[in-house]
Symmetry: C2
Subunit: 443 residues, 2 copies
């Protein structure tokens, strides 16, 4: 079921990166887009239409798109609150949580909060450069978190996005999630103290948070993954609002040696594969015996799993086992691939970790498996996909602050630097710059 | 010359933000685009054509666009190196720098380097959460800096972009700048130890650094401002490569009280206004007497300046003096505007600074004027424009690193957390996640 590949074959297939922008739109999406927006309208064009209308018409456009796309008449349902779920409903959902699930979610929230509270921020100042110079990290005023809807609600994503914002000191955190949200989403919003939940999905939610409407506040930063329309909308509002990046299908790489337990490795790959049919689960190992045992285990364990159909597809799409000459080459291939998650199920994970330059999350040893990272270990599970770990980071406290550089020079330093600044200004042909500097020379 | 406005009028005019995306393309740009790319081709479409061709054809496309757009035949000029300026030319340009300019640039480079070396990075680890958890900041492998060409070369922008990358530990920093670069750009590239300078401009430069070609390496992060085509190209490659943001016209706000010197304030506004006709120079003051003196000084000083024509236009476009009821309201308006630079020429700048939530750079006191920040104070002068200081930061060392989250739990903690993770997984309908966690429970 899980194919076994040599390195060159893997590099031509499962290790090859396809940029998000080069992916074809699924036929069903194209059909639905044409049906709703008219003949020949592409998904990016549909998204541009939605964005422009929400910017121009506000809530009226939101109601129209929610009716057309999500088949909900938000006006009729909740005349007083509009799109905002009443706080009492959040609390009610929270009170209805099963006791043991509530405890688990609270434990997760507690660890996520503690982890992010450790993150140092670049608040610093020096007096060694003549006066005071430094940087201040100031939280953004408002953050918006998108939480996808669909059949499998992901309350964990809400915790993983909201808590880093709260730790950063963001004044107001709002959540958008498609209409008729699952009660567990509402419950978790209450649990972690979200200010407002709006039942808005897709591109219209991104538009509302970017531009603001009569009822939805404009935010300074939007985070969270969503469907194709959400991703296209984020791409189009780039530059107008802060973003956490564009999310593609989730990915795991496991590097294992002969010390790894094949049943655990198989379980970790299966967990990854159950997300969706494009999920990517790759094992790199120099040990053929382990590889073959993992193949057997994957087949055996899959029988008991509820999402076996999805798993079957994702394992055959972008997943597989790569036999590498040694662990160093495995680490090199992983670094090139820049996976969202990299799990090191080897005897000496720390020394292997030092060879990895690109990965969203590094899980050291088979006791630190990815599922713990998904829910409760501490770091946000919102991590860079599609190879963007080359330059992007997991969601973290820095995502919710911006730096202001501070310049408070003393008079003497200012005077000494002024002729130097004037000289460079004249080389750039900027005489007004030079004049402003020459004014400050103490003679 | 510099108009005097009350707050409501200012809010309707110069304090009003127009998003980059809503700005009309200048007629001359539309004409030139149609002439080069064909009837009805818009600038974004032209940029999409350039990006796709460079991705598909590499150097051949770069040569074609350089010939068509920049009227240079790079093949014929430098057959051996292609687009790369030979290192010997960089050194020659450096040797030809006037001695006093060279000293000024070296002093600037030294202060910029020292400033950025102070910035703390989020490398941390804790053992308080059961095992070891933390974050590692890893430099990106390769960074690309775009330096615009044009009539006024800006060697300072090269220093301000390259040095933070070097401090971050980036392995290779390359520069792209339009063909036939000014010798001072080449000299400064040598001065700060840039690895390679490519004479490539516009969208084709961004394409080359994003996708890589036979001669230009693919980079992980692109920084630097450019013309409209550069900005559109950055917008279109968002998600494929790390970016520092989209740059609009430069902006300064000065808040001044009756203690400020009108001649200095005027000089600072004029320095800002000489950048280009869209530059924005705004004074906020509660003191009418100061406001009127600044008006007089602006008129008087302008006569001596070489770029008086540009200044006249930029002062009448997006600049002005706003009379505010008090300093607190001035600080509030500045925070709302989120300027690139904010200069506090007041008796107690520090207490006013604490009221500002959004600004790229804060200059405290009239000895810390913006021109010093442009060249030599220390912080990078690449700062967020267009109101993006709401969520974006000046270029800094964090721009050139990414975080990897580290999870190395001990066996006991892993076992204790596993049933909690399994419970949340089951609530999300993810049974393979639950199974992977249940495997790790020590019974």
């Amino acid at each position: 079921m899980l194919k076994l590949l040599d390195v060159p074959t893997a590099q031509r297939t499962i290790l090859r990166r396809t940029p998000l922008s080069a992916m074809d739109y699924p036929g069903v999406v194209l059909e639905r887009t044409e049906k709703l927006f008219g003949k020949g309208v592409t998904p990016p064009q549909a998204v541009a239409i939605i964005l422009a209308s929400v910017q121009a018409e506000g809530d009226a456009a939101l109601r129209r798109w929610s009716k057309l796309i999500d088949q909900v008449d938000l006006d009729a349902k909740t005349p007083s609150e509009g799109f905002c779920v009443p706080p009492a409903e959040l609390e009610k959902a929270y009170q209805s949580l099963p006791e043991d699930l509530c405890q688990a979610l609270q434990a997760a929230a507690g660890r996520i909060r503690k982890f992010h509270e450790f993150q140092p921020l670049p608040n610093w100042e020096t007096e060694t450069l003549g006066g005071r110079l430094g940087q201040r990290a100031i939280p953004v005023d408002r953050a918006g978190v998108y939480v996808p809807g669909g059949t499998a609600p992901l309350p964990s994503s809400l915790l993983m996005s909201v808590i880093p914002a709260q730790v950063a000191g963001v004044r107001q955190v709002v959540v958008c999630t498609p209409p008729n949200p699952h009660p567990v989403i509402l419950a978790v919003a209450h649990l972690c103290g979200v200010d407002q939940v709006f039942q808005l999905g897709g591109a219209q939610a991104i538009a509302a948070m970017t531009f603001g409407t009569e009822t939805v506040p404009r935010v300074d930063k939007i985070v969270g993954a969503g469907n194709l329309f959400v991703t296209l909308a984020k791409q189009q509002v780039y530059g107008l609002v802060g973003l956490d990046g564009l999310a593609g299908p989730t990915e795991t790489m496991v590097i294992a040696d002969r010390h790894a337990r094949p049943d655990w490795v198989a379980a970790d790959l299966l967990a990854q594969a159950e997300h969706d049919v494009l999920a990517c689960a790759i094992l790199l190992t120099p040990d053929r015996e382990l590889a073959e045992k993992v193949q057997v285990e994957v087949g055996r364990q899959m029988e008991a799993l509820s999402r076996a159909e999805i798993i079957t597809q994702s394992l055959s799409n972008r997943s597989g086992i790569v036999l590498t000459p040694d662990l160093e080459i495995a680490a090199h291939l992983a670094s090139e691939f820049a996976p969202e998650h990299l799990c090191l199920a080897v005897a000496d994970p720390e020394s292997l970790a030092s060879r990895v330059h690109n990965a969203g999350g590094l899980f050291l040893g088979e006791r630190s498996f990815e599922v713990l990272g998904d829910y409760i270990a501490g770091p946000s599970h919102v991590m860079p996909t599609g190879g963007t770990a080359r330059f992007a980071s997991p969601l973290n406290v820095m995502d919710f602050v911006k730096i202001t550089s501070i310049v408070a020079l003393d008079a003497l330093t200012s005077s000494e630097l002024s002729p130097l600044a004037a000289r460079i200004a004249r080389a750039e042909g900027l005489t007004a710059h030079a004049a402003a500097a020459e004014f400050r020379i103490i003679r």
